[in-house]
Symmetry: D2
Subunit: 286 residues, 4 copies
């Protein structure tokens, strides 16, 4: 592993931000590898992601952090400093469809996806086997059919996230709605995936509606969870072509493929600190 | 040019359709080059597209047509026989955005798109120059701002299509709604293009809405015009990725690119008799 | 599962093939669902794939097969009759890179990929765990570093394929060359995957060469194994965009993604009888 | 038009580059809109593209340039300052295939492609009509069949570029080889397009070779012209899927589509100063 660090930050835009931040980094003997900054005209916020290493592969010290905090206060900067390649602690939640879970397990285990899966939560037991085989703790948190235990169940979920110190919660086809208060608490660290269509279809059995409408493209969208169901900041989207021959079930299978792919990409970007929140939208420094 | 013919047909599904049709073609000394047939389970309709040539490059005779008509009656077949590569007579309608028109002009003139553009209709004069330079008649059919002359204008449009014996009308960003009666008359021979999004956005300034929502993909859809505005059978769709950096204007430019591309593909498929109507949907034999 | 059957065949082209075959099927009370036929002008061979069901969901009888064999002899047809959705017996071979193996295991177990994995062969032990967890027999067939036992090892591999009656062998990053005689024996039933570039790079460390050349696209290709190494009939290809930022290792990771994707698609097409051999090329009825 | 400026630069990498440059810009009252910097580990060169505006929409003054030149000398920076959206003077060269030329004419005339086409050069007269209709001077510079006048012809081409002060030469299917000396003179400002395949095919009739090999993907590549024919720094690549049904001529048509698309994208990136040269490779700040 290299000794690169990733500094991401955003702040109300003004003259001199980049000069002050990179001036500080220069003073700290930082060697800059990759810089991506962007000033959003709509929100008047400045966003930046800087990858750097310190001379002699030093680790950023307390005084580094403290000095930067002074600049940050001055510029009203929100910032985060991470080690490049360091795995972020992740909880995955799943219900009865495993395509996204399995894809993430595989990428975490075999493919350098920089996440450390510290637990899998499910309201069903279907995936206990594969999860435990992967050496990960499986937390069965059922929701009763009358949903009476839902608040308690969600509370257990939230406590698990806290106790594990997880920085990312991935709803990998978790078919339970996260309550507004928990959505607010998890804002910016909880990713959801859902199907998408052109045109959109409201209500149940969307793939059947898409089939009946004769669409030629189906898609999927990831977003950060907010109290507005499926209206959180979009992270990424992707599509596949379909044809008149595809049955609704085949659309679902293709949709699952897209979901697994776009969710994996979003989790990777999140873990690599490439996504910054810009109000109801995202900045993605690909 | 080869001497291939394209037979397309559809009929209520039953046993023996393909055997009877290809048996007939064998008797007529047809050499089959490409066959694509499909039975739709939802509508119980059988669709087929057969490319063939006759022995010694003969042209299908009257007796060929008459004999097939007997089979067609027996099986309630709707059919069409075309010469492969023969250009279909096409009228293009445009308003003030020329990206689709120009693309079609170029493909027709320089690239073997099998259409013969027999006229361009517009409610504006913007594109008279490029159209007339291409050697095509430009028909300026303005619509008054109070729209009072709209029925008369549409009537002139319809008469032009009739007098030119046009088999295809392409609405290449033609910003006038086709009346229900004309839509019905032109059903299956009038193609429209419009932008598409995931999620959809209703109302004006869709690209601005898409920008505000922070979408990562924009798209376009072609469909056959029906009395249901933008709800006709979908022919094709395509998309492009966009990012947080794209202004609404850049989204529009990208959207124009997609529109030109997907419309050109749809017109080509139509001209090659690859699209068969299946109720509110299309069968596309790519 | 439905009761559809798939008839695929090819033969020297002549007049009347489709009429004779569909006439036979009509006589046998076959209801045709999907037909795709193609006459290749270069090789003068006719290819066809017909999906049908028999009246009352009957199973094709011995007399069905015998009657068709008479037509087949007459027309020099090579044919195969399969039940749609029936899983084909598959042996997967792998060495030390598991991305393709894992993807296939997952699709076979969880996603309706119509293969029945009857064994995994490897010259290394790395993937014994995941394979056995999936309930599949793992056959460790090591090759000594002096390669002296290679013929014997390959013989064991071949015997395993025979004893399991496997219809498909997937070389999922199996880094041993199949001998010409075994390649010939397995022709049309052994699929290999390798990376591909524009331009091509010969020799070792192709991804490093691609990185040094500054390519913007990398790809992968599947083909049927023949005695000509990597020159067998191409089944499918796919690509991903890369950028100046991608290190050789990142290219390799992206390349692995492409390989897994294109191999899965090829195996699916093979299992669905969509691929017919046309000399050194393939016909793919997608 | 906005009052944004684009500063692009590259220099041997060292500590403090970004701090010094953005410190200078801050001092000059520059408001930074978009920053993309990258340190290439292979070549040890630092690359940067900074979009900014000056307070009160001022134009960078002589003293701005002079002050920056001092920093540039100190850091051995090569730099360029451009006004965003300013059209760059472009000469297009073409022979007998017009798909790329026409696409560029259209984008320049109707679509905000930021190029000002100051002349079209051709060794044939085929496109005089469309060029002159577009209000652009057509320079017919024929090459005799014995090629004896080639040096003189190329000299006229080079003189035209000089006299027009063109900053970009686009070889839009110009089938004459540029001499090594002229290639060297035009390094970094002359873009060529050619087809690409996986695998590659050497020699003539590449599309026929690709057809015979049964490839499923064809592509195109743009690069800066260097004395090494077709080996200059790659700018961009793109592909399309093809099938067994595509004749060599259809491959050529599809290839033309790809070429027009990838060339347009490359020219746009060049005009927007998104491409920086990195030895035999390019940095593309998309």
């Amino acid at each position: 592993m290299n000794n690169n660090y990733i500094l991401t930050f955003s702040c109300p835009d003004q003259y001199g931000i980049q000069a002050k931040v990179t001036g500080f980094l220069f003073k700290e003997n930082a060697f800059l590898k990759d810089i991506h900054s962007y000033s959003d005209e709509d929100t008047k916020i400045f966003f930046s992601r800087i990858v750097f290493s310190l001379k002699n592969n030093k680790i950023p010290s307390n005084s580094f952090n403290k000095s930067f905090e002074d600049i940050a206060k001055d510029l009203s900067i929100k910032w985060e400093l991470s080690k490049e390649g360091e795995k972020i602690k992740t909880i995955i939640a799943v219900s009865k469809q495993g395509h996204c879970l399995n894809d993430l397990l595989y990428r975490a285990n075999y493919r350098k996806m920089p996440i450390d899966i510290v637990g899998v939560v499910s309201n069903h037991e279907d995936f206990r086997g594969i999860v435990e085989f992967s050496g990960i703790k499986f937390h069965y948190l059922p929701v009763s059919s009358d949903k009476k235990n839902k608040p308690k169940q969600e509370n257990e979920f939230a406590n698990l996230v806290d106790s594990k110190d997880a920085d990312l919660i991935v709803l990998a086809r978790y078919m339970q709605i996260i309550s507004p208060s928990l959505s607010a608490k998890w804002f910016g660290k909880c990713i959801n995936i859902h199907h998408s269509f052109l045109p959109s279809f409201k209500g149940a059995r969307a793939y059947h509606q898409a089939h009946n409408r004769g669409v030629k493209i189906i898609g999927a969208t990831t977003h950060y969870v907010t109290p507005d169901l499926d209206e959180g900041p979009i992270i990424d989207q992707d599509i596949e072509r379909v044809s008149h021959k595809n049955t609704p079930n085949e659309l679902i299978q293709k949709g699952n493929d897209i979901e697994a792919r776009v969710l994996a990409r979003s989790v990777k970007w999140h873990a690599e600190k490439r996504i910054l929140l810009n109000g109801k939208k995202t900045i993605v420094f690909e």
